[in-house]
């Protein structure tokens, strides 16, 4: 619990001008969900929840990553994917997947205004982490609507 509040403080205080105006209840809920996601699926090594407009809301990322820059890149990629689908067949993409030798990144919508980005280990298979991530994305969407 102590660790959680430290994380909340960190999230609240760095780069204050970007910080989303969200309640501590939501922040704590998101942090819990990310912790659970990483705990439940051994292949997932990092995750982030961010606003569709590219602002990090909560993250379990390597500390050297600039989370707002990263959030901005995630939203740009997903927004382009949304457009691509709209241009071609009017669907909404379930996720964007980036595969690399160093690991995979999945980016997906979590409710109407949030995104979930997930990192996996390089050796991970794709199915399990994706299934876990989709479940978490749904929970995030529901949490934000409820509160």
């Amino acid at each position: 619990m102590d660790q959680l509040s430290q994380v909340i403080d960190k999230v609240s205080h760095d780069s204050a001008e970007h910080d989303p105006e969200i309640s501590r209840v939501i922040q704590a809920g998101l942090n819990n969900m990310l912790d659970e996601l990483i705990e439940d699926c051994g292949d997932i090594v990092g995750a982030m929840v961010s606003g569709a407009d590219g602002i990090a809301w909560a993250d379990r990322l390597r500390p050297e990553l600039d989370r707002h820059r990263f959030a901005a890149m995630s939203s740009a990629l997903l927004a382009l994917a949304d457009n691509l689908m709209r241009e071609t067949n009017d669907g909404t993409p379930r996720n964007v997947m980036v595969e690399s030798d160093a690991g995979n990144i999945f980016i997906m919508h979590a409710g109407d205004s949030l995104l979930l980005t997930v990192f996996t280990r390089a050796e991970a298979n794709l199915g399990m982490p994706l299934a876990h991530a989709r479940k978490t994305a749904e929970e995030i969407g529901a949490l934000v609507i409820e509160t």
């Binding site: 910080d19 569709a52 407009d53 590219g54 602002i55 707002h68 820059r69 901005a72 939203s75 949030l114």
Partner: protein, 182 residues
Amino acid sequence: MMQLETDKIIFTGPVGAGKTSAIAAISDAPPVSTDVVCTGAERQLKATTTVAMDYSYIQLDEQRIHLYGTPGQERFQFMWEILTRGGLGLVLLINNDHPDPVAQMDFYLDAFADFIEETGVVIGITRRGINDHARLEDFQNRLLERGQIYPVIEIDGREPEDIRILIGALLAVLDYQDIPGE
């Protein structure tokens, strides 16, 4: 020279300057836009914001000019770099309703300094007459202080004719710079 690579103009400027509207106003095809809802402090300024790019094109005589709009926020700087690659020049839109529009102009001129150096820029002042924080001369004087001479034009970003004037001014700047010996 590869036509597709070079005939591309980039619209940039701060959040709320009217980049998306400007591209939508003059484009000859339905624009691609990546507007999403604002969740951060920007929510107080506007409901949606561009997160990847706006894209469309206009047909000028036989030349097709591709128009790309950047996100305004600094956290999207990676898109600024991606979108300016191979571009002809820059249209910088500045919202005169902002408390310090001249400083905003400074910021974007600095952020795009390398691209402007290689190409050129034209500055469009939008939202004039609502809550003006600077006069046209203030922008021109600031440019002179910076040792730069570029057109500063007052526009209505929703008016196709105004955007055409901006693009025409930019093309004139680029022509002038292409004169050997200049």
